[in-house]
Symmetry: C2
Subunit: 470 residues, 2 copies
């Protein structure tokens, strides 16, 4: 898939002088090989690759600042790269330039168990962090699916299944180290849990997708590993019944740790892929964290609510192996869906609406998919009103791709009309730039543009993402 | 108390043309009377009043935009005013200009009970909001003590006793309507619970103290009223024992709703003021929210932990009248402290540190007060590592005031050296501008300055607060 902006993007060749300067500093940690450029010119979106001119592997904040200063002097774009798992074209080198790969910045710099904080270099992944802190009795809850880097998760304001209880990167980043577009190094906060000390620089950079500065270190909040964990799975006669169960659960103040929705198509795909025999109906998957008695009480309350919504079956899984089986099935939903059209390619999108409108938004989107004969599945972090649509297209069939884009456009318009957002957790990248204008309106976009121009006056930080320059 | 910046502030007289324009629009809702200007030229800080030249009572966002456009055309400062309860000189008219009083913008615009959100005009106070939503089974938890306006609370990133469980205004504001320095009206978000859609404009304005834009509407998160509430009170042989109890409580994952620390001086003052007989030792006051069995379980866990810390007494209060009596005593701590020096004036300050350093930070600050013969008391939202020092001074004794300022400066330096912040919830205003530089460093302050200049190029929005222009 090509992006229209690609066609008229100004692509300036990499000055030999700049490359020589990078090579003198980074030696074999700078590469212009086709293979390396191709690896860094793609993400998990359906865009065709757009290659940077060079890739640099930085190991320290100071090295990142060096690259930025050099690129700034030559007006050359800079794109930060973590694990390459973004979904909306975030890291594609629309205008060429230098990609800074941060995967070698993978040190856990400090763990303060008493304070429940950790400070890591941007390339540390969430699984690595959890591995390194497992003996502290603490964990880092944010789980966007992919084993993304903490820097990338901060840059895209990631969230995932646990956000209903633990929040998103917005709530869980305490402080960042950031390299600005002119190569200055700033710290945006402290390890204090709260602060009223001036402008919230931390949250200016969280979600800015590398367009305002380059995140090199992240301080995050950690949480106590729960004393007890249990899961429950429940099928419903309708999407509305499932969503109403979630609304009432949250209104009762039940502190669910996760509540995931899967539509009939997903359940069917999972049954085939994982050899399971779940009822092929809308399904909710719950996880409860707390004390032994608390998780039991939570499950009981949810079971009662589900019963009032004519739930078909309510199965409560306390044994770790049963829980693991259920959640593995949820995590495999993406791969299971891919099997529904083995030669096809997945287009994924997400939106987030106030929960009172969620059933309606999902139902209308399902109807749109069916009307357009689109092979699709919907999963959702329904406690937050956030859902994902996965559509299987033939990437070589322009009409098929256009049909999927049409469904996406109408889903976003629907979410916005319900006072929701065009993306709950995937981010904007290149794919949702027009939707962003639709959501915020021209005046707010102008304010975003004022911010971008002030922080990156030369438009060298990941240009062509989030908002148009003019 | 005078502020040095006051002496060299450029104060431009209000142009007659501007006043005439305001009067033609606002008629009797614009005032230049001495009494009105004096009322709006002070807050709860110990600064002498600094009067605006005129006060306008706006009733709509559009009216606020009108005032801003007129003032912008004449380069005249604009100061938003809610309830006047800020603590660091936030709303004082250092350079004169027009104060926009938002107290008549006091409509609750929408309550979406299923989504647990409310949208209010900026002048609605937290008690008013809770009064208007009491039949929904929901409540708005953030309680900074004063019955502040939601606009003011957003502008200062307020928090208070409930923040340990429910977060601060940073976490609980979903969206704002803001008037920019050139009089544009923007909406910064939607009612979606989470979003990755572009720059986080909401959190740029939360905590910006009226210096980047004027908040006119606020959408906040609401929470289910807990099924059960209980309180516990417990005295300790030492500050360290009390703080260690809190650290362990939080590490056990007990979801306390409130945990407040009071030092011996506060307890003594409260005993005298409220005719109570609490042991005159460091004291913790807990509140638990949840189901009947959950609050019981939480209290039991805390009692066990407190026992290990040699707690002197642990009293568990489930009856509403007992709870109310305890919390009234906590809320009266300020007034009780005032009685410790009836002719004196209170100087209050706050800081926030990682909780592992809290006991040390409080103890060193107490020792500093005692060494300087300062009548003082310390209360803290200890679950967050946040504490307040109240010092009683003779406002006419410059040496006494200087002693208090010295204690404040050393407390802030101590907090910053512990990777904490110069203010957990009071904000910067005029009083903590130098501390802000100390905390963030010149490079980060320069980034804040870039933001301020981009959003308010004429420096007309609450000038002289948060950061110095040059």
């Amino acid at each position: 898939m090509n992006h229209p902006a690609q066609l008229d993007a100004v692509r300036k060749p990499l000055p030999a002088e700049l490359l020589a300067a990078l090579e003198s500093i980074f030696e074999d940690r700078v590469s212009t090989s086709q293979a390396m450029r191709e690896h860094h010119g793609r993400d998990e979106s359906s865009y065709d690759p757009m290659l940077p001119d060079a890739v640099v592997f930085a190991q320290t904040t100071e090295e990142v600042a060096e690259v930025v200063k050099l690129c700034n002097a030559h007006d050359i774009p800079i794109i930060p790269y973590g694990t390459g798992t973004s979904l909306e074209g975030h890291i594609l080198a629309l205008r060429g330039g230098v990609t800074i790969d941060l995967s070698q910045m993978n040190a856990v710099l400090a763990v303060h168990a008493e304070d429940q904080t950790a400070t890591v270099q941007a390339g540390v992944t969430r699984k690595q962090l959890n591995q390194e802190i497992r003996d502290t009795g603490l964990f880092f809850p944010i789980d966007p699916g992919a084993d993304a880097s903490l820097g990338g998760m901060a840059a895209t304001r990631a969230s995932g299944t646990n956000a209903v209880r633990y929040g998103t990167m917005r709530e869980n980043v305490l402080a960042l180290t950031v390299v600005t577009s002119d190569g200055r190094i700033i710290k945006t906060g402290t390890r204090a849990k709260k602060s009223s000390a001036g402008y919230d620089l931390t949250r200016i950079f969280v979600g800015s997708e590398g367009t305002l500065g380059i995140i090199t270190e992240v301080t995050v909040r950690l949480y106590p590993q729960p004393e007890a964990v249990s899961a429950a799975v429940c099928s419903f006669p309708s999407t509305a019944a499932a969503v109403n169960t979630v609304i009432q659960t949250i209104q009762m103040g039940v502190p669910v740790a996760r509540v995931e929705f899967l539509d009939e198509n997903c359940v069917r795909a999972i049954n085939a892929y994982d050899k399971m025999s779940l009822p092929e109906k809308p399904l909710l998957l719950f996880e409860f964290h707390g004390s032994e008695s608390s998780v039991q009480e939570q499950a009981q309350v949810v079971q009662e609510i589900a019963g009032e919504q004519e739930a078909i079956a309510f199965e409560w899984a306390t044994r770790p192996e049963d829980r693991t089986r259920l959640w593995a099935a949820r995590h495999n939903a993406y791969f299971a869906m891919l099997q529904m059209r083995p030669a096809g390619r997945a287009i994924t999108t997400d939106a987030c609406v106030p929960i009172s409108r969620l059933a309606e938004c999902i139902l209308d989107t399902q109807a749109d998919c069916e009307k357009n004969d689109m092979i699709h599945g919907i999963v959702g972090h329904v406690g937050d009103g956030n859902f994902h649509v996965l559509m299987m297209v033939d990437p070589d069939d322009a009409a098929d791709v256009a049909r999927a884009e049409g469904i996406n456009q109408r889903m976003v318009a629907r979410a916005i009309s319900m006072d929701g957002t065009c993306t709950g957790e995937h981010g904007v990248g290149m794919h949702k730039m027009d939707f962003l204008v639709q959501e915020h309106g021209e005046e707010a976009i102008e304010t975003m543009r004022i911010l971008k121009r002030a922080f990156d006056p030369k438009n060298i930080l990941n240009p062509g993402k989030i908002i148009r320059w003019t």
